[in-house]
C-alpha cells in the first residue's frame, strides 16, 4: 500500500460486498425458488426465503421431470451430460496431445499444412456452419448418439497449441538421453512427456469439462430423442415445452442441478481453472 487509506478500503469492501451480492443473487433466487410448492408462483412476487418443498421438488425433477410435456427425468439428462462432457474432454486432450507431439518432435512433409488445418478450426465455430455440419452428421447416421454428440466437437486448436508451447520448453537433453538409452518415440512420449504434462493436462481438463458440459446448440441440433437430451439443452424444453407459465419450482430445481457440477469443478479446482483459462488464451 502506498498510503493507507482507511476510508478507501472501507469503500472498496462495500463495493465488493455489494458486487458479490449482485453476482450471487440470481443463483440464490433459483435455489430459493426450487424449495417452494408450485402454488407460490401463481401470483404475487417471487419468494426470497426458503420454502419447505425442497425434497419433493428435487425428487420429482430427478425421477419424473415433466413427462407429459416431453421432458425426460433430470436423472437421465444429468448422466447424458456427464458422458458427453467426459467424452469431449478426453477426446480433445488425447488427439491434441498426439498432434502436438507429432508437430514438435518430428520433421515430415506437409507439417506446416497440417498445423494450419488444425488452426482453421478456431475460425470455424459450429455457429457459422450449422446446416452443413448437421447434414454431415446425419449422413454418418450419428444423430441421437453419444458419438454424434461428442466426436464432431473434439478437434481442438487451443489444446494443440498449448501442448506444442509446453513441449517446446521441455529440455532437449531429455530426448537426447532417451534416444541414447534406445527409447523409441512412443516410449519417450509415454514415459517422459506424459508425466511432465500432467499439470497442463489437468488444467485443460477443467476448462474442457466446463466447455463440454455447457454445450447447448450442438445437442439441440442432433438430439431429437429425449433419451439423449443433455441437461443444459433440456432446460429450454422445460421452459417452453409446457402450455402457459413454466413450472418454476421444477425449472429452478433443474437449473440448480445443471449448474452444480461445473460450479463445483471450478470451486474445488480453482487454481487449475485459473491456470487453464489464462494459458489457453495466450
Amino acid at each position: 500500500m502506498v498510503e493507507n487509506n482507511r476510508w478507501g478500503n472501507f469503500f472498496a469492501h462495500v463495493v465488493l460486498i455489494l458486487g458479490v451480492a449482485i453476482i450471487v443473487f440470481p443463483v440464490y433466487v433459483a435455489i430459493i425458488a426450487s424449495t417452494h410448492p408450485p402454488g407460490t408462483f401463481v401470483r404475487g412476487v417471487m419468494p426470497l426465503w426458503p420454502g419447505t418443498h425442497a425434497w419433493e421438488n428435487y425428487t420429482t425433477a430427478i425421477t419424473e421431470g415433466r413427462s407429459r410435456a416431453g421432458t425426460p427425468p433430470i436423472g437421465g439428462m444429468l448422466w447424458n451430460s456427464f458422458i458427453m462432457a467426459m467424452a469431449i474432454t478426453i477426446g480433445k486432450l488425447s488427439i491434441s496431445i498426439l498432434s502436438a507431439f507429432a508437430i514438435v518432435y518430428f520433421r515430415f512433409p506437409f507439417r506446416i499444412l497440417f498445423f494450419w488445418i488444425i488452426f482453421l478450426t478456431l475460425m470455424l465455430p459450429v455457429e457459422v456452419r450449422i446446416v452443413p455440419t448437421f447434414q454431415v452428421v446425419a449422413d454418418f447416421g450419428m444423430l441421437n448418439s453419444f458419438a454424434g454428440l461428442s466426436i464432431p466437437l473434439i478437434a481442438s486448436a487451443t489444446a494443440t497449441f498449448l501442448f506444442r508451447q509446453f513441449f517446446m520448453t521441455v529440455p532437449e537433453e531429455l530426448m537426447e538421453a532417451a534416444r541414447v538409452d534406445g527409447a523409441g518415440p512412443m516410449k519417450f512420449f509415454k514415459d517422459i512427456l506424459l508425466p511432465l504434462s500432467v499439470t497442463n493436462i489437468a488444467a485443460l481438463f477443467v476448462i474442457m469439462f466446463i466447455y463440454g458440459w455447457n454445450q447447448y446448440l450442438w445437442p439441440l441440433l442432433i438430439t431429437t430423442d429425449p433419451e439423449y437430451y443433455t441437461i443444459v439443452m433440456g432446460i429450454q424444453r422445460m421452459v417452453t415445452g409446457g402450455d402457459s407459465e413454466p413450472l418454476w419450482h421444477l425449472v429452478m430445481a433443474t437449473v440448480v442441478l445443471a449448474a452444480l457440477p461445473p460450479v463445483l469443478v471450478i470451486l474445488f479446482m480453482q487454481r487449475l481453472f485459473v491456470k487453464g483459462l489464462t494459458e489457453t488464451e495466450k
Binding site: E3, A12, H13, V15, L16, G19, V20, I23, F25, P26, V29, A30, G44, V45, I95, L98, S99, A102, I103, Y105, F106, F108, I117, L120, M123, L124, P125, V128, R129, I130, V131, P132, Q135, V136, V137, I151, P152, A155, M168, E172, M175, P185, Y216, L217, L221, V232, I235, Q236, V239, W248, V251, M252, V255, A259, V265, I266, L267, L277, T278, E281
Partner: protein
Amino acid sequence: MQTKRMTFSGKWLPYALLAPQVIITLIFFIWPSFQALRQSVYRQGDAFGIRPDTFVWFDNFKALFADPLYLNSLKVTFVFSVGTTLLSMSVALLFAVMVNRMIRSRDSYTTFLVWPYAIAPAIAGVLWWFIFNPSIGIMPYMLDMVGYDWNHRRDGNDAMIMVIIASAWRQISYNFLFFLAGLQSIPHSLIEAAAIDGASRFKRFWTIVFPLLSPITFFLLVINIVYAMFDTFGVIHATTEGGPAQATNILVYKVYRDGFVNLNFGSSAAQSVVLMGIVIVLTVIQFRYIERRVNY
C-alpha cells in the same frame, strides 16, 4: 515453425499421430464450411429433384443485404455485442481494481467472483429471465415501485437489456481474472514513484495503471465481442427467442432459425458465410495482436 533441434525419425508415425485430429477437422469443420460456401451461391432445388440446384452467383447475398430483417439483425447484434462487452468489462475492471487493493481477503473475493463462468449461457439466460419475469419477478416488482412498467414480452428495449445483463453476468468472471492478473503484474515501484511525486490515487490509475492494462483490455475486447456474437445463442434461444418483434434476433440465432425452422438453405448459407468472415477477421486481429503483445 520450429521443431526440436533433434527429432525422431519415422515415416508413418507422425501422420498416424496427426490423423485423428486432422480427419475430424476435415470431416466436421472444413468440409461443412465448403458446403456452406457452395450453398451460398446456389438456389436450392425442390426436394423431389425435378428442379435441380441452380447457380445464382451472389443473389443470396444481394437478397440478404436487401432484407430489412437481416439488416435489423445486424443492428441488434451490434447493440447487443457492444452492450455486453462494455457492461461485463467495466464491472470486471471495477471489481479487479478493488480486489487488488485487498491483501488478506483477496482470495476469498476471487472465489466468490469466478464461479459464474461455470454456468452455461442458456442457464444464465433462464436465471435472469426468472428475475425479470413480468408477473412474479423481483426486478419488475422493484421497478414498478419507481414507476417503470417492465415487460420484456412487449418491449424490445426491455428484452435487449435483459439478454445483455444475462450474457454479461457470466462473462464478468472471465474478465475479472484477466484484469486481476494484469493489475498484479504492474510493478509496484511505478505506482510508488508516482505517489512520491504527489499523484493522487485517481490520477495514478488513469495515467499509469490503465495504460499499462491496455494490452489486456484490447485482448479482452476481442474475446468479449467473439463471446457476445457467437456463444450467446443459448441466452436468446432459451428466453426471448429473438422477440419481441425481432428486437433480440442476433445473427447466430437468425442463421439457426432460417436454416432449421424456416428451411431457407440458400439464405442460411449466405448468413453462415458472412459470419465466417466476421470470425476470421476477429481471429486474425486477435493473433496479430498476440504476436506484438507488450510484456511488462
